[in-house]
């Protein structure tokens, strides 16, 4: 095999599984270290640089970082990354003085942002400090988009939302509430330099079965949640069926319990392994005694004389192969489940009835706008899409990343620069060696299990709709959980020329992830690894040929716990632990690059100065 290329940004970024898994590339290990040091405000601001809404995301993020977390491969459970983010948010001091500010001198460019959700707010967050004038048009009378309308207050309290949105709008955003945009053409005629569409995926999918329109007790999930959020709905029947088993369904069933329901069933068509909802959301719902019923396919709404009596389902049986795939299914029988209300939570679409189809924004055959996945520009120059509006429903953290990228594009567009020549990402490496047996990070492996989030007890939590269920970690829990982080950004960096092949690193490695072996094809090398390769997606780190024998050092990144013992026991410093810092460019760096002309240098400098 050829020596692994580590000079680009990708290799070392990938090793930091959480950061690689995060769409916004949040520097997780670094903020966890800051929390460990009690530097909550610093941890908060580091988070905010990449994900903009740490307090919100620390509660309701889809947390793609956690399934990616190395700790979940070494043991069973990943680090509670998301809830540690909330720790930083909960315990921060007043950070307002350290937030980006808009300059008094504007740059004369005006940007229209459609929808006051997470995507548009991120664009405003990135562009306001550059002197842009940002106008947000929002149909509802409060900003926040789905974060406010679709996420119940018992998971995300309104004050958290208000505070983090205000951090952005207080920079002087022209926020026009209760102002729906009804025509793209009309908007374009107002002479904005750029338009960003962050209007989300506001149309809940319907279920057109017999009886659907014969009762007013059948609700579309996201619309119903919105009505609850704006206090237009305050009760529901005793027996509620939720159709669908995604995260919206989880919010619907738990909300029902708080509006008077006592018998709530979530009806799933498939077995549990195929559920779309995150495991932790399922757990939280089941803790509240929601029943999740599998293998039931909706067939008919049973309505008599305008009164909803229940729903008929086909009970299904599945043939599943060893790899867990469904081969076949058949109907076993039909059941009728009585209920007072039905909530449909089977998905949602983006919808653009307000964009004239001849205005220049091309739509594809599914009637979705054609959007460039890198620049987020539509086919009409100067019109950008992001969040769920761009590629359909994803989640908040993706919308934030879309917002960051769209902000860069908008800046380049407004300055006549090509959108595709964006600043590159970078990786900085710095040795973590401080002295004998001393490293600049806590490298002791702590075998503690994942801490369990304490909840408000089941009796009290239903008293009001907006009692936040999760209490947040205690100080002791934080102290333990931060040490579970394996510091994957402390990279094991190998210098082949210095190696004397003494085997010290091989012998000391507590997870046997190192092997010195004759070079060969990948398959041959894999067969000779000290521990079998369990995760083919995890990279192999192959060195250049070693001086004394011409063999190669091979590291399987999969299980490395970054304890640094290889570097600790290396007599020649061939192994070193080096802190990698991913340098992610934002719109502000584009501005700095414009001024100095040297993009990479500016990017690094901007990172240092925060």
């Amino acid at each position: 095999m050829q020596p692994t290329k580590t000079d680009g940004t990708e290799y070392f970024h990938r090793v930091v599984d959480c950061q690689w898994g995060c769409p916004a590339h949040t520097d997780v290990p670094e903020y966890i270290r800051l929390i460990a040091q009690g530097r909550f405000s610093d941890a908060y601001l580091l988070n905010r640089t990449s994900n903009v809404f740490p307090g919100i995301l620390g509660r309701v993020c889809d947390r793609p970082c956690e399934p990616a977390c190395r700790r979940g491969r070494v043991e069973e459970k990943p680090v509670a990354i998301c809830r540690l983010k909330r720790v930083a948010a909960d315990h921060r001091d007043d950070v307002t003085a350290r937030l980006p500010r808009a300059p008094a001198q504007k740059n004369g460019k005006r940007v229209a942002l459609v929808g006051a959700g997470c995507a548009s707010l991120t664009v405003a967050n990135d562009l306001m400090p550059l002197g842009y004038e940002c106008v947000i048009f929002e149909a509802l009378d409060k900003p926040g988009g789905l974060m406010r309308t679709n996420i119940p207050a018992f998971r995300l309290p309104a004050h958290v939302l208000d505070e983090e949105i205000a951090y952005i709008t207080d920079m002087g955003v022209d926020l026009r509430l209760s102002t729906p945009v009804e025509s793209m053409r009309g908007l374009l005629e107002q002479g904005f330099d750029a338009v960003f569409v962050g209007s989300g995926a506001p149309r809940g999918k319907d279920l057109d079965l017999p009886g659907r329109h014969d009762s007013d007790r059948i609700h579309i999930g996201i619309d119903w949640l919105e009505s609850v959020a704006f206090e237009h709905v305050s009760k529901i029947g005793e027996r509620v069926l939720i159709i669908g088993v995604g995260n919206t369904a989880m919010d619907c069933c738990r909300t029902s319990l708080r509006l008077g329901a006592s018998d709530v069933k979530v009806m799933a068509r498939k077995p549990r392994a195929f559920f779309k909802a995150s495991d932790w959301e399922l757990e939280d719902a089941e803790e509240e005694r929601v029943e999740i019923v599998v293998n039931h396919s909706p067939k008919e709404f049973v309505v008599e004389g305008g009164k909803l009596l229940g729903m008929k389902f086909d009970r299904l049986e599945y043939d599943i192969d060893e790899r867990g795939r469904i081969l076949d299914s058949r109907v076993v029988d039909e059941v009728m489940i009585p209920c007072d209300d039905v909530v449909l939570a089977i998905g949602q679409d983006n919808a653009f009835p307000w964009i004239e189809r001849d205005v220049g924004v091309e739509f594809d055959k599914w009637d979705v706008p054609v959007v460039d996945p890198v620049t987020f520009e539509s086919t009409l120059p100067g019109v950008f899409f992001g969040g769920d509006a761009a590629f359909g429903p994803k989640n908040i953290i993706w919308a934030v990343e879309h917002g960051h990228q769209a902000a860069i594009s908008i800046h380049r567009h407004c300055h006549g620069a090509p959108l595709t020549e964006r600043l590159p990402r970078g990786v900085n490496l710095t040795s973590a060696k401080m002295g004998i047996h001393e490293w600049s990070y806590s490298n002791d492996f702590d075998p503690a299990a994942r801490r369990i989030m304490p909840h408000v007890d089941l009796k009290s939590r239903f008293k009001k709709l907006n009692i936040e269920v999760e209490l947040g970690f205690s100080a002791e829990q934080v102290a333990t959980e931060v040490e579970r982080c394996l510091n994957c950004d402390l990279q094991t960096v190998f210098t082949a020329e210095a190696c004397i092949e003494c085997d010290a690193c091989i012998d000391i490695c507590p997870v046997d992830c190192l092997t010195i072996t004759p070079n060969g094809e990948q398959e041959e090398i894999e067969a000779r690894l000290k521990t079998p390769r369990l995760e083919p997606d995890q990279p192999l780190y192959v060195s250049a040929e070693l001086k004394q024998t011409g063999r190669v050092m091979v590291k399987d990144e999969n299980l490395c716990v970054h304890c640094g013992l290889c570097a600790e026991r290396c007599p020649t410093g061939a192994w070193d632990m080096q802190k990698s810092t991913l340098v992610v460019p934002y719109a502000v760096h584009e501005l700095a690059a414009d001024e100095t002309g040297s993009s990479e240098e500016t990017c690094h400098r901007a990172r240092r100065t925060g």
Binding site: H437, I506, D507, Q548, T549
Partner: protein, 351 residues
């Protein structure tokens, strides 16, 4: 942090042996030897060998003397017995331990200082009485603990770190053991576990005294350019003459060998050692020829390694001295201490 311990992580890739133990269960404390010391590799090879042999750690007695090498029993088989003896006196203690309990696997760890200077006599007699043990010499040519003076195994012309040259001829434990009638004589290198681990396994299973001389470079005092016991020198001038594969009892021989190339030797417990000649003109069954071969190659600056001599037929100490089959700690008190009358009658026989 003043020192760093190796964390015990039971990860998903960890294998278990027939006893249900992982290799972690065969490790010991964290090494305090210099980073890169060859001895740590020998430690790791021992850990691997005992893990693969499915030997319960509590059935092993680790014996050692004084020196860097003799510290290493603290770093492997944490759950076994151990005795850290006076300098050079480990063979006597091991003899006593072996005589008292034949069911223990005796593993002696010594160094070139401990065995070839102060303990030379002890070493020679352990070979001579064919004590049933594996005796590992971690041989680096210097006294590492006292800052790198030449030991008795330093080659003529080899230079110390500060430049002095050694002029006294070395004592080669391999040639000595052969001359003294050793029944299992092997040499290996700490940097070659593929060779070292099977030799440790075979030596443990061999009935009688098994000498394993391991070139184990001193990374601090003897790993420089003019040294003949550095990693680089050993790799360059090492000459493998016989490879030994260890096959446990009841296991099929899977690898294909050319006819006439392999000499199988059956051990008393049913396991086999397959000697594979790499050098055609070497015969691991002819003591005299083997000594000549090793000596002439040493003169040419080459280090001959492998299972250099093996004879499974000679009686060991237990056979020669008719020791108790039952470990003394399991004998009933009356048998172990027959009383004053029995002593008096024994003494009468010698009058």
């Amino acid at each position: 942090m003043t020192s760093i311990a190796k964390p015990k992580i039971v990860h998903r890739g960890l294998r278990r042996n027939a006893l249900g133990l992982t290799i972690r269960d065969y490790e010991g404390g964290m090494s305090t030897l210099c980073a890169g010391c060859g001895h740590d590799s020998v430690t790791a090879a021992i850990v691997q060998a005992f893990f693969e042999l499915d030997i319960p750690p509590h059935r092993v007695a680790k014996m050692s003397g004084i020196g860097c090498s003799s510290k290493t029993p603290a770093y492997f088989l944490g759950a076994s017995h151990g005795f850290n003896a006076v300098h050079g006196r480990m063979p006597s203690i091991a003899t006593g331990a072996g005589a008292a309990n034949r069911d223990l696997y005796l593993l002696g760890i010594s160094g070139d200082g401990d065995s070839l200077s102060i303990g030379l006599g002890q070493f020679a007699h352990a070979v001579r009485r064919n004590l049933d043990m594996l005796y590992v010499i971690e041989n680096n040519g210097v006294y590492g603990l006292t800052k790198g003076q030449f030991s008795a195994s330093a080659d003529v012309g080899s230079k110390a770190k500060r430049g002095e040259e050694n002029r006294q001829p070395p004592i080669d434990p391999v040639q000595m053991a052969m001359a003294l009638g050793g029944t299992f004589v092997a040499r290996s290198f700490s940097g070659d576990k593929d060779q070292l681990v099977p030799l440790i396994k075979a030596g443990i299973r061999h009935r009688g005294f098994a000498l394993l001389d391991v070139l184990s470079p001193c990374v601090t005092f003897n790993d420089h350019e003019a040294s003949t016991k550095s990693y680089a020198y050993t790799r360059e001038f090492r000459h493998r003459v016989v490879n030994a594969d260890f096959i446990p009892p009841r296991e099929e021989i899977k690898a294909a060998y050319d006819e006439g190339e392999v000499m199988p030797i059956e051990l008393h417990d049913g396991s086999r050692v397959l000697l594979r000649k790499i050098s055609k003109d070497y015969n691991p069954h002819n003591r005299g020829a083997a000594i000549d071969y090793i000596r002439s190659h040493h003169r040419a600056g080459e280090i001959v390694t492998g299972l250099l001599y093996m004879d499974e037929g000679d009686p060991d100490m237990h056979g020669l001295n008719n020791t108790s089959r039952t470990p003394l700690n399991e004998l009933p008190f009356e048998a172990l201490c027959p009383g004053a009358d029995a002593l008096a009658s024994l003494q009468r026989r010698f009058r």
